[in-house]
């Protein structure tokens, strides 16, 4: 079985995003970029499936600027077998990415696509679901456990009320939540080996996909800042403040 894992290059998890003074977006110049944390979890899950003998090949895919090659090299260092970059300088929105991935799935015929549940830049939480819909496949989002057997994936999902378990026929799309696994670190020898693994570059036009954005960002602003309040000395003072000043308890 072949597993395809889309990975996105985003601002590093530990960097605080700063809004540009002209309100045109978030300042990404000279900011550390990394693989989206949820996509690391997706890569890890795919590699574990390979190590367990369930998957034969893991293909990492990224859509975006040329620098996404670094993100793909990271995926290769973690254990992916080969990589495909769909290179574009256009802002790629979730629908466009889903269409690009669909075109690649038509070519590559994976049995399973594992995505991160959302990217920490646009926080859209759409691409996996859109891809499943375009392919006409089943889906299991927000996964915390995946078991593949007999042409089906049994997936435990993190939902608002607790947990839900689905059985979805392959091929399917799974999106991973935080507790699916703990991703490994790439070792130095594997980082070196990753440089020799195949990385193919294609353009959206090669895949016949129109990636024109459907949403226009009119402005990006900083949210209203919350002011730090006061320190209280003890519990008595805290309760008095909550009762008499904030009036949030009886």
């Amino acid at each position: 079985m072949k597993v395809l894992v889309p990975v996105k290059r985003v601002i590093d998890y530990n960097v605080k995003a700063r809004v540009k003074a002209d309100g045109s977006g978030v300042d990404l110049a000279n900011v550390k970029m990394s693989m989206n944390p949820f996509d690391e979890i997706a890569v890890e899950e795919a590699i574990r499936l390979k190590e367990a003998g369930v998957a034969k090949e893991v293909v990492a895919v990224s859509c975006g600027v040329a620098a996404c090659q670094e993100t793909l090299r990271t995926a290769l260092a973690l254990g992916a077998d080969r990589a495909i970059l769909v290179e574009s300088d256009v802002e790629l929105q979730p629908l466009a990415v889903a269409k690009l991935l669909k075109a690649l799935c038509d070519k590559e015929s994976p049995q399973l696509v594992i995505c991160g549940k959302q990217a920490i830049d646009d926080d859209a939480n759409q691409t996996g679901q859109m891809l499943a819909a375009l392919l006409g496949w089943g889906q299991a989002t927000f996964a915390s456990k995946v078991v593949v057997a007999d042409g089906k994936a049994t997936v435990t999902r993190e939902v608002d009320g607790g947990l839900e378990t689905l059985k979805v026929s392959l091929p399917a799309v799974v999106t991973g939540d935080l507790r699916l696994n703990e991703p490994r670190y790439a070792t130095l020898p594997n980082i070196m080996k990753a440089k020799k693994k195949p990385l193919e570059t294609v353009k959206p036009a090669d895949l016949g996909v129109d990636v024109t954005p459907r949403l226009t960002t009119l402005k990006v602003a900083e949210p209203a800042k919350r002011q730090a309040g006061e320190r209280v000395a003890d519990v008595q003072q805290l309760v008095a403040k909550l009762r008499n000043e904030a009036k949030v308890i009886a």
Binding site: D121, L131, A133, Q139, G162, K167, V248
Partner: protein
């Protein structure tokens, strides 16, 4: 053109998130139709009809919809999408699961997690864990939207819409529900609670999380929440997680206990009306957003707080 709002429910009860979503839809202009899709959900349709601002309820009651899977709900919504200007659902795990499928099948963008409506085609949504607010304009014919429930007030009752049963076509969905393990609690639902007692890594272990926080939550009639660190460490179940990738809450009072205040956690609670932080580390970032900060050992302070509340 009318607007279609998809109700969230469990076939028995209409979820509170539906009311906030309805309030967002009211700002779009146009008659609002509410879809209640499930199996054995006629009582939910009646509750939807009584909501203030609903012009008509579409009841899709069919065994194919019994598990509320993304595949089945999305196929149904797509089959009835023609003629609607907007299709709107809550940005809960229910809405996030199926609505992007609807958008993709209609070949339109989805606008996720809106917190304000500027115009019928222009919306404000948080990005980068709420560190920025983007105003986006959609050029698509149909606007497919998920609503951040804390961004809009809950719509009340007072409507008297009619309920029309609709014929459900074959939905072709093959994903099966194996089971659900829902957290059973007598406490209020986290997303809709007025007071939340939330615990972090400072509690040390699962036993302390429950032993220290439950008496306080009981005293205040509060829901219980947790930071990602506390959930990852197994102190609390996953559905207690507040933050960028967990639940976004905005209660009247949020008590952050033993939570340092990572930006991803702040993204989930900084719109609370009043924030109280209790932490032994005076430099913890949580104090920068707290209205009232108390530096101290939570194992001493929280029991004192329970006693002081009487």
């Amino acid at each position: 053109m009318p607007i279609l709002v998809i109700a969230e429910h469990d076939d028995a009860v209409l979820k509170a998130s539906t009311r906030n979503t309805l309030s967002a839809a009211k700002k779009l202009g146009g008659d609002i139709h509410m879809l209640v899709a499930g199996h054995g959900c006629a009582a939910v349709a009646q509750a939807a009809a009584a909501l203030d601002g609903v012009a008509g309820v579409k009841l899709a009651d069919d065994p194919q919809l019994a598990a509320h899977t993304a595949e089945s709900v999305a196929a149904l919504v797509v089959s009835m999408a023609a003629g609607y200007s907007h299709i709107v659902a809550p940005a809960t795990t229910f809405g996030k699961n199926f609505l992007p499928r609807v958008a993709a099948l209609l070949d339109v963008a989805q606008i996720s997690d809106i917190v304000a409506v500027e115009a019928p085609d222009t919306f404000v949504r948080p990005i980068y864990a709420g560190n920025a607010l983007a105003t986006v304009k959609s050029s698509d014919a149909v606007k497919v939207i998920t609503v951040r429930t804390t961004g809009f007030d809950a719509a009340g009752d007072g409507g008297s819409a009619s309920v029309a049963a609709i014929a459900v076509p074959p939905l072709g969905a093959t994903t099966d529900l194996v089971g659900r393990e829902l957290t059973v609690s007598a406490r209020p639902e986290l997303a809709a609670a007025k007071i939340i007692v939330s615990g972090g890594r400072g509690l040390g272990n699962s036993e302390n999380y429950h032993k220290v926080l439950e008496p306080l939550a009981d005293k205040l009639g509060a829901a219980m929440g947790a930071s990602r660190a506390a959930v990852d460490a197994g102190f609390a179940p996953n559905d207690y997680q507040v933050g960028q990738t967990g639940k976004v809450v905005a209660p009247q009072l949020y008590l952050a206990i033993g939570i340092s205040g990572a930006i991803q956690h702040l993204a989930g609670m900084k719109d609370s009306k009043v924030i109280v932080a209790i932490n032994k580390d005076a430099e913890a970032p949580i104090f920068q957003v707290a209205d009232y900060g108390l530096v101290g050992d939570l194992f001493e302070v929280v029991p004192q707080l329970v006693a002081e509340l009487g």
